[in-house]
Symmetry: C2
Subunit: 317 residues, 2 copies
């Protein structure tokens, strides 16, 4: 058994925590607990630097709140990038803190480019010497397939070399996902199905002992019929499933994703967990300085909600 | 005439310099002039910080060398992102220096995401308060269409509000571009043609007085037949054309792109210009401390090469 294979590390984390929950770190400034915003704004620096500092406190406290409860987190790079270089520095401190706390980390960057440029992005996130200089990268990166097969391979090769993975966009969770993803060719196959076929092929080339590859797929829970079909079409592909919770999908929608061993997918929730203190059904139940209790409650609710559908079996390896 | 419209600002810059050359800033470490690498490595900081410092000197000297010669430059974000937060700080200093030198700037980031995440990326590059805190953003950003129409609109709205533009990937220049872009539907239309139709529609919604919109398209010169077809299919769309030079395309390949006024496209060259000192046909002609002379010569060669095919007419506005 190759302990370093991404899919095996992920399977281990899912079995250890007993659930497939991925907490999305999308630190929108307006939604942060007021005391964190006020503290950040009272400090030095430009508005962007202040925001970045607020994001750091917020994300580090979330990591403390959920470490041990869930297997994996997914920072959304855009919100950190919006804060400039200070934001990117915070992103890396947050991702390192998460890994030190025993969480796997997916950097949700949706990068994609050609040749040596793809290699540079891959190094930035998945390489030894990448953006966390001398600190190693993250466990997985989301990437975009539009530019073609030869633009995905450099990411995958860098990922595999370090025991990491990639999640390739297949069927996204937004209302307009179908604009191009639903384009149907003369044989009746849709674009997203063709992307799925390629991801399955890439995954098969490098299976961990758990039976899954290091090439994963992003499949939105907001299209449950497609999700069930895609699970069938990509039996060796770990899935990352956005769209649960605030975006509208429920536990039954994601049920087909987990596969027979219960390790086939992680389900992401961002706002529904990290801003739980402001959720309609929870607002007023927690004092302003107890927002982490709301985070923990929301995480527990999601774990319980998914439990009937996802029962990770013990490893046979 | 709306001086602030992106297409009008670009048309003005093309007319003023008399050419459509875009210099791509792709600062690969191994290709930098040796004295710059040695100076950077002799300074303080981590390897990534040293690389970033080398990129800064290199890019600032290129900007000095070509300011006034060409209308526009295109930094490739990946190479800066690979150097971590220090690299992103350098990227923004380089982009600000370019704008101060009178060059338009396309940030080649190929970003794409949904909803408020797309807004965050748009703010990061195109917003007033974005990544260059209080310093404004860049003139245009490259974006990826895979996730659908509703993921492009937030970028376009932010761009338009600031007199900026976006370049949407339509037909990329890499050998594997066709993996998904060539998918053909039952009416015979390919994916990239459908993306083109959407870009034309988005451009038409907001034309500058030059007759072009703020929604642009990336179309590789390495597929000249498609390039000519796409120029016809997108008459109101400014084109960004990679693939000239090192990637293999020549002036005749891009000739159809410029349109009747000669302002319809900018043609990018990266390695062929910025690493001209190491080009097979130029190597040995310049002393190590005269690499900027090679950059200027290569820029002049490209301008002259394109001149018979692109004669920007004076503005009628």
């Amino acid at each position: 058994m190759s302990a370093a294979h991404f899919a095996d590390r992920l399977a281990h984390a899912i079995r250890q925590t007993g659930n497939p929950v991925c907490v999305g770190l999308d630190p929108r400034w307006e939604s942060l607990p007021a005391p964190i915003r006020e503290r950040a704004q009272a400090g030095p620096g430009s508005p962007a630097e202040q925001r970045a500092r607020g994001y750091e406190e917020f994300c580090l406290r979330i990591i403390d709140a959920i470490a041990g409860m869930v297997p994996i987190i997914k920072p959304q790079v855009a919100f950190f990038e919006e804060c400039g270089p200070a934001g990117m520095a915070v992103l890396w401190r947050v991702m390192r803190a998460a890994r030190q706390a025993g969480l796997l980390v997916i950097a949700d960057a949706k990068r994609g480019d050609i040749g040596t440029t793809a290699e540079a992005y891959a190094q930035a996130y998945l390489g030894d010497s990448g953006t966390g200089p001398g600190q190693g990268g993250v466990d997985a990166l989301t990437i975009n397939p539009y530019m073609g097969r030869d633009t995905l391979v450099p990411f995958l090769e860098t990922a595999r070399a370090g025991g990491c993975g990639v999640y390739i966009l297949v069927r996204t969770s937004n209302p307009g996902a179908g604009t191009f993803q639903d384009l149907t060719d003369t044989t009746g196959r849709k674009l997203f199905q063709q992307v799925a076929a390629l991801v399955e092929e890439l995954a098969l080339a490098d299976l961990g002992s758990c039976g899954l590859g290091s090439a994963g797929a992003v499949v939105g829970a907001t299209y449950p019929r497609e999700l069930a079909e895609l699970r069938q079409a990509m039996p060796h592909v770990p899935l990352l499933i956005p769209g649960y919770g605030t975006q509208g999908a429920g536990a039954a929608d994601v049920a087909p994703a987990f596969g027979p061993q219960g390790i086939g997918a992680v389900v992401n929730s961002s706002r529904g967990i990290i801003f739980a203190h402001a959720r309609k059904d929870l607002v007023g139940r927690f004092a302003p300085d107890q927002w982490e209790e709301a985070v923990r409650l929301a995480t527990r609710q999601m774990i319980d909600d998914l439990a009937p559908h996802c029962r990770p079996t013990p490893s046979n390896a």
